[in-house]
């Protein structure tokens, strides 16, 4: 038997978890690009270093985004990945697919690219992993014909994503899928033609469990919530009481606001104190449901650490009703993006801009009222600014 050319990667074919190496080898059977990727990766495993050069700017006609340029730093050894760009294909909201659509995507990609994908990228795109520059436009044309379009990259609106929400989940307080799809369609231009100071991400989770990590990974986080009483089905509570679940210990004692009372028979919730953390509902889905008046909390500023340190999104609208055509929501997004666009420095995310100029300035600029829900606690330093008009007012 011939000695393997990829002894290191071969080690990763062992073990129970599905192996990406097998997939690369599978693609390599058809695609010389995939074969060279495999070999270059083996070299990286040997050298403990990546072998890609700093990306260049490539793309398709009319768009500024959707393609990530990539070139090998050893084209001498791996000519088929001398250029090896990815296409970011906007996924159907909620990552729902009918197989015919998926198969079309595969066919296009076998025709034009390496046959390798990420299903999906961590922003949510279907990533078509690696092709040559000259294939980009034809590939896009075929994708378009198959009903697909590119997602965002660069200083653009990135592909919005949403949790499965009303598609399957009993806790959905907003139609996460429709909100996400509607915004995606409304803002096509912003996705495809980078014109912002930096990237801008929107993610929609239909309840505070935040299954799409909206609060951590998007500049504009839309998270479903409710007002009013948690709906209790006493019959089901009784059934849970007879089950393995220890209602006192597992539910009430872990309620962060300690607003639940359980006497072995009746479950009482002091809804005024509830902060809608979802814990009790998560544990007793048959007995408890979010309240009737539903909407979303809007938070902004979330991002990874580069440059100023990671941020989790901040509450800016405690409660907004969300119903098509989502005029209030879109208007807010536009106001925020316009302000950011005008004031943000290059490579400054929304959160960093607010951090730099102050929440006070942001709120005034976009016309949002200050409410205590915006903060964990009021300021502790005495460095308080007053608006000039407030000073005049005080003078009698």
């Amino acid at each position: 038997m011939a000695k393997s050319k990829t002894p290191l990667l071969d080690e990763l074919e062992k073990g129970k978890w599905p192996s990406f190496v097998k997939d690369i080898k599978q693609a390599a059977q058809k695609s010389p690009m995939a074969e060279d990727l495999l070999q270059q990766l083996e070299l990286s495993y040997k050298d403990k270093i990546g072998h890609w050069k700093h990306g260049g700017i490539v793309g398709v006609k009319g768009y500024g985004s959707g393609v990530i340029g990539r070139y090998s730093d050893r084209p001498d050894l791996f000519p088929n990945v001398q250029a090896f760009h990815t296409l970011r294909v906007n996924h159907p909201t909620g990552w729902f697919y009918k197989t015919d659509a998926l198969r079309k995507l595969c066919d296009v990609w076998d025709k034009h690219g390496s046959g390798l994908t990420n299903m999906h990228g961590s922003t949510g795109d279907a990533i078509l992993l690696g092709t040559k520059t000259e294939h980009l436009q034809p590939c896009f044309d075929d994708l378009s014909a198959a009903g697909f379009d590119l997602g965002g990259s660069g200083s653009a609106l990135r592909t919005p994503s949403a949790c499965v929400g009303p598609g399957r989940c009993e806790w959905a307080c907003i139609d996460s899928l429709d909100v996400c799809y509607n915004l995606t369609m409304e803002f096509q231009d912003k996705i495809h033609r980078p014109m912002f100071p930096y990237k801008f991400k929107i993610k929609v989770s239909a309840c505070p469990n935040d299954c799409v990590a909206s609060i951590a990974r998007s500049d504009f986080s839309i998270i479903g919530t409710w007002k009013g009483k948690i709906l209790i089905n006493p019959a089901e509570v009784t059934i849970y009481a007879g089950s393995d679940l220890d209602i006192q210990k597992e539910v009430c004692d872990l309620c962060p606001t300690k607003c639940m009372e359980w006497d072995g028979k009746t479950l009482k919730i002091h809804d005024g104190d509830c902060n809608r953390c979802m814990h009790c509902i998560n544990l007793m889905p048959k007995a408890l449901r979010p309240g009737k008046e539903k909407g979303a909390t809007i938070l902004v500023g979330g991002k990874a650490p580069i440059v100023q340190g990671a941020l989790l999104s901040w509450v800016v609208v405690p409660f907004m009703k969300l119903e098509p055509p989502y005029a209030e929501l879109k208007d807010l997004i536009e106001r925020i993006q316009d302000w950011w666009d005008e004031n943000g420095k290059s490579r400054e995310r929304l959160g960093e801009l607010i951090k730099r100029v102050g929440m006070r300035v942001f709120l005034k600029a976009v016309g949002l009222p200050a409410v205590p829900q915006m903060v964990k606690a009021p300021r502790s330093n005495p460095y308080v600014f007053f608006w000039p008009e407030e000073i005049q007012k005080e003078v009698k």
């Binding site: 197989t99 999906h120 990590a213």
Partner: protein, 353 residues
Amino acid sequence: MAKTDIGPPDYKTMLPPVISRNYGKWLYHEILKPGVLMHIAESGEALYTVRAGSPRLISTDHIREICDLAEKYCDGYLRFTSRHNIEFLLDDKNKVDPLIAELTSLNYPVGGTGHAISNIVHTQGWVHCHTPATDASGPVKALMDEIYDYFVTMKLPNHVRIALACCLNMCGAVHCSDIAILGIHRTVPKTDNTRVPNVCEIPSTVASCPTGAIRGDMKAKTVTVNDEKCMYCGNCYTVCPAMPIADPDNDGISIWVGGKVSNARSAPKFSKLAIPFLPNNPPRWPEVVEAVKNIIEVYASHARKHERVGEWIERVGWERFFTLTGIPFTDKHIDDYDMATETFRTSTQFKWG
């Protein structure tokens, strides 16, 4: 010419009929067994979801295989999750077990639900990116092999979300994960000032540095790094290709713990540094796998039911976390970036260990 700005396919055309019929009218769910969810609608109809693991980096043939299965068991309807698992959506309970049997025979792990370890959200690594300090798919595969059992069972105190990012850009969920694996550089970028004038813009290169370590010479169009101020984030390299930072001998992996995203019980939290550095040891990164397994096991045996990793640590205290895991505490664990003082202990309340 191709039509532009058509946007993605309308998701409504992708929904299985049982979902279209019961859209937004779900009543409750049950986890029937690891990897199998049953959602009951107000109408009484049931949707069965079978969740299977995926390496995420998959070939078109692999996707076609998934399509075959979906067509055989669920009329061609499937979805992917926000953590890149595959979900088969069935309306017929009788097809659940046969599907699982076939998945098993094809080596698809079925699980990732409830109090399990789900798929590891990860990034490109040496497969496609230009700034990685480690590979992504490799460490993920090596680790998932070792903790496979936690994917196909539900025996942890709560779910454990693991993420990996191959550099400080942290594409993915690393900054808010129960356990995060992060590639880090540890040496200063090697500036090539012969190339800088051609490929870099001086002001933006200077501005890219979070610690102000870069001085620019606008006339000579060159830059100098103050080694003492550089913490190897690689951000300058993103902006200026003539400042490569990868270093095979000193790049490696750091481990972070205790982050979360959900609002359940406690508020979302950032992951915190557990291990500042472990070497890159391809192809199976044994030190990293060992370190993560140790943390999982200490968590599994000490946390109370429903406690996420970070909630457990906050209850017992970080002092105790280091004692229990045997991880050494170093000066690197103490923050020294802009909000560092917020993390310093401003109280005599602490445990001895």
